[in-house]
């Protein structure tokens, strides 16, 4: 029986230790370093880096093969949270129960800490390729996947569409497209970059891409469901906020029951994409299951 908790604890520890080391090496002591550290080590779930490591392991590689990409993904995710929280964007004062970066430091420092984390992500990917010239092509390919998912044909464009949606509610296909860009693309890049660095062939990359596309969407659908009927105590945040703000959501657009069915179908689809990998895909299968059943 595969123990997901043990697996997540171990891989998160590896990611956290590596992030600490990379930041220590790259950023000289000072206020910029402190702000980067504050947000990067604020206790995230590390979903993207764990997916990246698990994808590498699923195709027969080991976690060490992909740790540079895993950490780059978390730096990019963290930078996007820092910038999304800014007064000119979502204007959030709290994140994971702690003051957001621009509140704990100041707005200029938060903008620059985000910029520096985004840059450090690519520094990390490129430096790994320089250090391992025999895997140069793998690092270039993994880095390209991650860059493409993060910018104007991925996450940044998704954030633009999400902000525009505050004025004009989205139809179901628009909602799906927005999420595919804002959160889906980077989750997919986590899987494909990990697969490439683990030594996958093209077909294997395709299978893991399909897996990630489905769990990325399932994650968003369950997020919306929890906002309707989750337990505020378990979640550590208020529920019902989407409906109060008239936000476009899956339960709002397709109903609660249909949303649950849809999430279940997506996770089934994700698990089917893992079939060719047999037992090695146990961590990814357990993560898909966890996304469906989570209470927070």
């Amino acid at each position: 029986m595969f123990d997901l908790k043990l697996y997540l604890d171990d891989r998160r520890r590896l990611v956290n230790r590596s992030l600490e080391e990379m930041l220590q090496r790259a950023a000289p002591a000072g206020r910029l370093h402190d702000a980067m550290h504050y947000s990067l080590m604020a206790g995230g779930k590390r979903l993207r880096p764990v997916l990246c490591l698990a994808a590498a392991e699923t195709v027969g590689g080991c976690a060490a093969d992909a740790i540079g990409a895993a950490c780059a993904l978390e730096m990019i995710h963290t930078y996007s949270l820092i910038h999304d929280d800014l007064p000119a964007m979502d204007d959030d004062a709290l994140r994971r129960g702690k003051p957001t970066c621009h509140v704990a430091f100041d707005e200029a420092t938060a903008i620059l800490a985000g910029d520096a984390l985004l840059t450090l992500a690519f520094d990390t990917l490129l430096s790994a390729g320089v250090r391992q010239p025999r895997r140069a092509r793998q690092w270039l390919s993994a880095g390209m996947d991650i860059a493409r998912a993060s910018g104007c044909r991925g996450m940044v464009e998704g954030q633009m569409q999400d902000m525009a949606a505050e004025e004009t509610p989205l139809a179901l296909d628009q909602l799906r497209r927005m999420h595919a860009l804002k959160t889906g693309a980077l989750i997919e890049a986590a899987a494909t970059s990990g697969a490439v660095l683990g030594g996958a062939d093209e077909r294997q990359v395709e299978h893991l891409h399909a897996y990630a596309r489905n769990i990325g969407l399932a994650f968003q659908v369950t997020d919306d469901i929890l906002n309707v009927e989750g337990d505020p105590q378990l979640m550590g945040k208020a529920v019902g906020t989407d409906a109060a703000r008239c936000k476009s959501t899956y339960p709002g657009l397709m109903g609660l029951a249909a949303s649950k069915t849809f999430a279940g179908q997506l996770v089934d689809e994700a698990r089917r994409a893992l079939a060719p990998f047999g037992e090695r895909a146990a961590p990814l299968a357990a993560i898909a299951e966890y996304i469906l059943k989570r209470k927070h």
Copy 2:
């Protein structure tokens, strides 16, 4: 006799055309694309990309070898200007005679346009490496130089120090260090990345690095001198603003005459670093001369 104007016109045209094509390919039509285009094509001097191309040519390569890096450098330079102009940073409403990005669009769009340009720079570098697998190591090395110069051990840290200096005036060595990070590092990376992509060996890279270190500093010293005694008509902006704001400058810290001598020495030093390249270094030699004698 080498004709610098002809050279600059030609290389700038190549850079501008390539930037247009890259943006067209990468960013889907919409407000984000428009904001990126607005700032990227606002008529900059293209100093960094031209240096990058000229470095490639100086070591026997051609401009086409380095055009991906040249464009990435300009995207990074442009993103840094967009973010520096934000209300939380320098709060500038005009740049090159046009409204800054957050004035022409809005603050959130300007933050995201900067983020997207920074990301597209690395997308461009990594994609070039994927497309040219036989030059994979060159693209990784050039990309690493550029990433390192742009982030928390380069430009972003320099901007942090520059903002802190508004409260505490800098001594001469602190001023020099701040400029080396804020503007020097990316100018150096322009030269070294161009050299690597042009096929330079390690000693050639070292020579061009020394050249760039000296002209980067000379550029800053002459900037400060022009702010004291430049012709506002030729410069298209006011002079005397540094002194009025009690900003730490070279003329302020070492006197006007000594600053001119210093700038001349730096350019001499830069030209000496070009000696091994003979006639091929004519463009770089002319650029050094131009930096010293410019009136705007």
